[in-house]
């Protein structure tokens, strides 16, 4: 099966023109979507279904700058990517220390109930972590140019892959903690899940 970049006839680079990606997505969809193969035989219908599913997944991944990086990292490591799991990621080592305070605040809110003071504290922590998460995301997307030039020069990409992995892991962890904080604050479960989307 072609990888997602190959599906769109694109090089394995992180800088992408979204308008162009969308144009190619529409073109490929018009070619493969099952709606246009309804009168074909069963084999051709199955092929269109599979091709269409691949195009859709490829577009979903590549249009999102962070999912794109995650995918590239997986490709470099030769593994398959999948949707997020609900298994909690482990905290990256450099985040451990500052997480202690958050965990403490969470514990307190749990044992003593959500007083106005506790809620305020949780909210402050959440805002801080949100900022931190955004910083990780920006760091990842800003390294796109660096990556692309490494691809062009044929340079060793492993150091970059390692850096991406570290930052993505930190981000994944931060997201779960932010979710925990929202939950402790008694915010809508649905909204809470919405946070987990890319």
């Amino acid at each position: 099966m072609p990888n997602y970049f190959e599906v769109f006839g694109l090089p394995r680079k992180l800088s992408l023109e979204l308008q162009e990606l969308q144009r190619r997505f529409y073109d490929l969809s018009r070619r493969h979507h099952p709606d246009f193969h309804q009168t074909a035989d069963a084999l051709a219908q199955a092929a269109s279904l599979e091709a269409s599913a691949l195009v859709n997944r490829a577009y979903r991944t590549l249009r999102d700058p962070l999912a794109r990086v995650e995918y590239v990292v997986a490709l470099e490591e030769g593994r398959e990517v999948r949707e997020e799991t609900s298994a909690k990621p482990k905290p990256p080592v450099d985040l451990l220390a500052e997480m202690l305070e958050v965990q403490e605040a969470l514990q307190e809110a749990k044992s003593e109930g959500l007083t106005a003071e506790a809620a305020e504290r949780l909210r402050t922590e959440r805002d801080r972590l949100e900022a931190r998460r955004r910083a990780e995301e920006t760091a990842v997307t800003e390294a796109a140019a660096e990556w692309d030039s490494a691809v062009d020069r044929g340079a060793d990409r492993q150091p970059l892959v390692d850096r991406f992995k570290q930052r993505l892991a930190a981000r994944a962890y931060l997201r779960t903690v932010i979710d925990d904080l929202s939950q402790a604050l008694g915010e809508d479960a649905e909204t809470h899940v919405a946070h987990r989307r890319h």
């Binding site: 979507h33 709606d35 599979e50 859709n56 949707e83 609900s86 298994a87």
Partner: protein, 609 residues
């Protein structure tokens, strides 16, 4: 390819449409010119009646007349316990698929829906003068896999191949798009009789790309009516000292009255409800403000899903270019106001909100038939799909709002030496724990070659097709052997059950058209007889003795032929009886209104200091 029709299988009304030779989608009406088929099925001793005739006898035959069956599609006995308390027909307690008892038989929701679909199929066949056996059928966007499957089952039982299941708001956008009435970022707000959907789309260069969808499959006009009925029952208790809440016939009269009043209040500021019961005639003036107070909490429940859909589409309300209103309940002024407040612009509804979904289904049918090449619909799956993992936690395989078709692969292995089967539990929903989500099915993967624990690598492919429905395939990687999968749907009919129902529908081939028309005519006659008897009992004194005897004569004449098989005779006598009672009906209405006015004046006098 043979003709494909588009069908809107609604909670309250259903419609069939097609694209005509000129490329324009049109609703196909029945022999009497009616475009909407009430989604009501009556299992009378004489036979099955569908549509307007069934609706008209609802209050007289509540236990055997099934309405709003869509709310029971693809659900389990446990899910509908609350719902079951509000309907006059009997829901058989069960852990599995819902069953409804009508007389001495039990029917499932897909079978009831199949009656509606069959009627629409016949309507289309009468229109074209040729058989119709393929259709595009719409469902609420927020329908889960089991609800979609139930709809497909219904279609099969009705002898229709459902070539595509399309989401209602998306279908509506196709109808608008075909006429170039909507471009850019569109929000389709679809509030029907029993379901609510919000879909956000990007419409560009003929591509209709759904960005996000959300909704509530148990929120609609039915709930508005229910709120009004509750209020009316309390009012009757206070005014007449009678508790009618356990009288199913009275409740149905009130429900129909409430529904009609709600519709009138969309264009009028106040309306009077007038319902003759056995012992008294109930009348009550309702103002729009009163209605709005009763339904406001329900209308507000639609706003949360709207915000979530916007959030998933990564849009703010002001970025939406156009808001399209779909579904009869969007005629309610309060609904329009709330939508306008949320999006900050006036929603529009140039196309009839009752018909636009069916028209869109017809457009999609035309696309499938190859009649339109420049329009492409890219829809999404409304709910996340996952499998249960250790500790009852859900591992998401496909996130909600993923464009369909889509697929995900997952690998399974064994935990014990020599294990030859693995089972998995597939769920739909947004919650972390399996128990909080919708159980779709359990799959048994068997036929794995005995190997040490952890050695087999079974690749399972989860594919969501263009209908938004799940297909599962499994293969043992080492041997390349396809593992066999047995699907145990949690709340659906098994393949064997559906096949049996299809067969039954042939053996018990329903009464031919003439027999059907006879049943409808008889039902209509019974309804009129009943009304007249009641009118005579309550208002007989208002007319002269001669007139009374004329009415009794016409009544007896109809009674004489009603049980027979001469349809024309029954129809003529029914018309005659109706004519004979015209002035009585008028007089009763006048008196009731006059009394209403007098009693209000009395109220006013009493209030004065």
């Amino acid at each position: 390819m043979s003709r494909i029709v588009g069908i809107d299988l609604g909670t309250t009304n259903s419609l069939v449409a097609h694209v005509d030779a000129a490329g324009i989608p049109r609703v196909i009406s029945d022999a009497e010119g009616r475009r909407l088929l009430p989604s009501v099925v009556a299992y009378t001793p004489a036979g099955i009646v569908v549509g307007e005739a069934a609706r008209r006898q609802l209050a007289r035959n509540p236990a055997r007349t099934i309405y709003s069956v869509k709310r029971f599609m693809g659900r389990g006995g446990e899910d509908v316990r609350e719902e079951a308390r509000h309907v006059p027909f009997e829901i058989v307690p069960s852990d599995e698929v819902v069953r409804i008892r009508v007389g001495d038989r039990e029917v499932t929701p897909p079978e009831v829906s199949a009656q509606i679909l069959r009627t629409l199929k016949q309507q289309a066949e009468a229109h074209f003068g040729e058989p119709v056996d393929k259709a595009v059928i719409t469902v609420p966007a927020y329908f889960n896999d089991a609800q979609r499957q139930a709809t497909k089952d219904a279609s099969r039982i009705a002898g229709l191949e459902a070539l595509r299941i399309v989401n209602e708001p998306t279908a509506a956008s196709l109808a608008y798009g075909l006429q170039k009435l909507a471009q850019g970022l569109i929000a389709v707000y679809d509030l029907g009789g029993g379901t609510f959907d919000i879909s956000i789309l990007r419409v560009k260069d003929g591509v209709f790309e759904v960005l996000a969808t959300n909704g509530n499959t148990h929120l609609g006009g039915d709930d508005f009516d229910r709120a009004v009925v509750g209020w009316l029952l309390a009012d009757i208790k206070a005014v007449h000292g009678e508790d009618l809440s356990s009288d199913p016939e009275a409740v149905q009269e009130l429900r129909l009255g409430a529904e009609a009043a709600k519709c009138r209040l969309s264009s009028e500021e106040r309306t009077t409800l007038l319902i003759p019961f056995e012992r008294f005639t109930y009348r009550r003036e309702i103002t729009r403000a009163e209605l709005e107070r009763l339904i406001a909490p329900l209308v507000d429940q639609t706003l949360g899903p709207c915000r979530l859909a916007l959030k998933d589409a990564e849009l703010t309300p002001d970025q939406v270019d156009e808001i399209v209103l779909v579904g009869g309940s969007t005629r309610v002024p309060l609904v329009r106001r709330r939508v306008e407040e949320l999006f900050g612009k006036t929603p529009h509804s140039q196309l009839n909100p009752d018909e636009v979904v069916a028209l869109g289904a017809a457009v999609q049918a035309h696309i499938l038939a190859g009649g339109i090449r420049d329009m492409l619909l890219l829809d999404v799956t409304p709910l996340s799909l996952g499998i249960e993992t250790l500790g009852g936690i859900v591992s998401v395989l496909i996130s909600r709002n993923t464009t369909i078709p889509t697929m995900a692969k997952e690998y399974f292995t064994t935990s014990v030496d020599g294990q030859t089967a693995v089972d998995m539990h597939v769920l739909q929903g947004e919650r972390e724990l399996a128990k909080d989500n919708r159980s779709l099915a359990r799959f048994d993967l068997s036929g794995i070659d005995p190997m040490p624990a952890g050695m087999p690598k079974i690749e399972v492919t989860f594919l969501i097709d263009a209908d938004g429905m799940l297909q599962v395939q499994a293969r043992e990687q080492r041997t390349g052997k396809a593992a066999s999968i047995e699907v145990k749907p949690t709340y659906g009919l098994s393949e064997a059950q559906v096949a049996q129902m299809v067969e039954d529908s042939f053996t018990h081939a329903e009464a031919d058209v003439n027999a059907r028309l006879l049943i409808e005519t008889r039902t209509e006659a019974e309804t009129v007889l009943n009304h007249v008897r009641r009118a005579l009992a309550q208002g007989g004194h208002l007319v002269s003795a001669e007139e009374r005897s004329l009415i009794t004569e016409a009544l007896d004449a109809l009674r004489g032929v009603e049980g027979g098989s001469d349809r024309d005779a029954i129809r003529e006598r029914t018309i005659e009886l109706n004519r004979a009672t015209e002035s009585l009906a008028q007089l009763m209405m006048d008196t009731a209104l006059r009394e209403a006015v007098t009693s209000r004046r009395a109220d006013d006098l009493l209030k004065r200091p």
